[in-house]
């Protein structure tokens, strides 16, 4: 078996790949923002024991954590087009769908990994020493202030190690975007495969690119973890 990577010299294929990498990174970043928003909000509801929100949040977490993100993506993609939410384009006056494939991918990434993030952040909050919380309370902080200024900043730092694997999982999951025809890196790869028939070589290259992106993400998170390290905690 010989591997032939000469197609990589073609500038057209290079643009497709680079654009795909850009889309994948953008998808992952937006997904991460949504993931953190959902994770923090959900964990706050559970941690503060908000009476009417606890059960809905639990149901939400269990639903999205125990079902495949791919099926969630297909479901969102079809349901949102079924409901037919559209926007009026101010330039052309035409109607464009509000939820494109791109939006659906960001939503499904944020929902699936966000549901996992809720549990991660919640266990981080539980790891905050009780004395610290008591101290804040005795200084006159309200329950919400304690959460905002004491528990959340410490709890988020406590949850960095499991959050790293969740972020890597989100980046890996973003490869599913190709299945709803979003032009991410996998999409570029399938296009190149269709034209060059070098299936194996393209897939191996894509594999390496994902490994590099995931490893870079791990390095960045490590930097962040080092910056926000609490002296005396961890190694």
């Amino acid at each position: 078996m010989t591997l032939d990577f000469s197609w990589l010299l073609d500038p057209l294929y290079q643009t497709w790949l680079l654009r795909g990498i850009g889309t994948t990174i953008l998808l992952s970043l937006l997904g991460m923002v949504l993931m953190f928003a959902i994770g923090i909000a959900g964990a706050a509801c559970l941690h503060l024991k908000l009476r009417f929100l606890q059960s809905p949040v639990t149901i939400f977490v269990e639903l999205f954590r125990n079902t495949p993100p791919l099926v969630q993506l297909f479901f969102l993609y079809f349901m949102l087009s079924e409901i037919g939410l559209t926007l009026t384009d101010p330039v052309t006056g035409g109607r464009i769908p509000l939820f494109t494939g791109f939006t659906c991918v960001v939503l499904s990434l944020g929902l699936y990994n966000g549901a996992i993030a809720v549990e991660i952040i919640r266990s981080g909050l539980l790891a905050v020493p009780a004395q610290t919380v008591e101290g804040a309370r005795s200084l006159g902080y309200s329950r919400l202030q304690t959460f905002r200024y004491v528990e959340l900043p410490i709890g988020l730092r406590m949850s960095i190690p499991p959050m790293t694997s969740n972020i890597v999982s989100l980046i890996k999951t973003s490869s599913q975007a190709v299945l709803v025809a979003v032009a991410d890196i996998m999409y570029g790869a399938t296009q190149i495969m269709l034209e060059t028939f070098r299936n194996l070589e393209v897939m191996l290259l894509i594999w390496v690119i994902y490994l590099v992106i995931a490893s870079l993400a791990v390095l960045v998170v490590r930097r962040i973890a080092a910056l926000f390290r609490i002296p005396g905690y961890g190694s």
Binding site: S55, E62, T67, P69, F74, T173, M203
Partner: protein, 266 residues
């Protein structure tokens, strides 16, 4: 078990209600006919055959694929895990590298790569083994899961106090004997909940085998949508979500219960 039972009841009832409510919101007055269409297609989605005559496709295929992939990953992952705690860095470093590569690769890419990397058939000692899409799916899923199992194995072994190693060594056991007879039997209780989580993750991952052309539940769902019309798409995907949930949620609850028990015993 009480808190977990409560959570189980809340989760099962709540998710079923939420999914049913979504169905009604999307279809409104048409919910009745849609439910009838779903009921008619249930055997196909569950077993891949219109009358439950065989269990080779649909949701049954997902279960079969996940069990085979887990079996392969358990064996390969244990071997990789033993390599990762080896004393010789010649074995340890490559094992770590392999584990990190496998753990950071997207499952979808591995599945695609297996599709092109594995031959259609292979002749071995005169017999021809053909690689069906199903077998490719099993191998493609087993690879990344191997890394997870190896990590679980390493974590479990490291949770056993080092005194156990020392006393076994002073009794004259060799390294692999210590692992096999002293450490792993104690580590199994730490490993079990994590292995179950890994299995649940793998089962969720079986939804991806749709790209290899295996006859899994998502492939069947797409065929049904293509034949019955796109208006049923939402209902069918809701149904598939429900199937996955009903399979994975009890595993998650059981895992949590086991974790609690391990923690209490410590």
């Amino acid at each position: 078990m009480n808190a977990e039972l409560k959570l189980f009841a809340l989760g099962t009832a709540g998710v079923t209600l939420v999914l049913a409510a979504l169905l009604v919101i999307v279809y409104g007055a048409e919910t009745g006919p849609v439910l009838q269409a779903l009921a008619a297609r249930t055997p196909l989605l569950l077993s891949g055959s219109p009358d439950f005559s065989r269990f080779e496709g649909g949701f049954a295929a997902n279960i079969v694929i996940s069990i085979w992939a887990m079996a392969i990953a358990a064996v390969a992952g244990t071997a990789l895990g033993v390599g990762m705690i080896s004393q010789s860095s010649l074995v340890r470093t490559p094992s770590f590298l392999l584990m990190n590569v496998l753990r950071n690769s997207p499952w979808l890419v591995v599945l695609y790569a297996m599709l092109y990397l594995l031959p259609f058939e292979i002749a071995l000692f005169g017999t021809v083994f053909s690689f069906s899409p199903m077998i490719k799916a099993v191998i493609g899923l087993a690879l990344p899961v191997t890394a997870n199992v190896a990590e679980v194995f390493r974590g479990g072994v490291e949770a056993v106090p080092t005194g156990q190693w020392e006393s076994a060594r002073s009794l004259g056991y060799r390294r692999l004997q210590i692992l096999h007879r002293v450490v792993v039997p104690q580590a199994i209780q730490f490993m079990t909940p994590n292995l179950m989580t890994t299995y649940a993750m793998l089962f969720i991952g079986t939804s991806l085998v749709v790209v290899t052309g295996a006859d899994d539940v998502l492939s069947v769902a797409r065929t049904v949508i293509a034949s019955d019309g796109a208006q049923y798409a939402t209902a069918i995907y809701l149904y598939v979500l429900f199937l996955f949930f009903i399979f994975c949620f009890p595993i998650a609850i059981l895992t949590r219960w086991l974790e609690q028990r391990v923690r209490v015993r410590q």
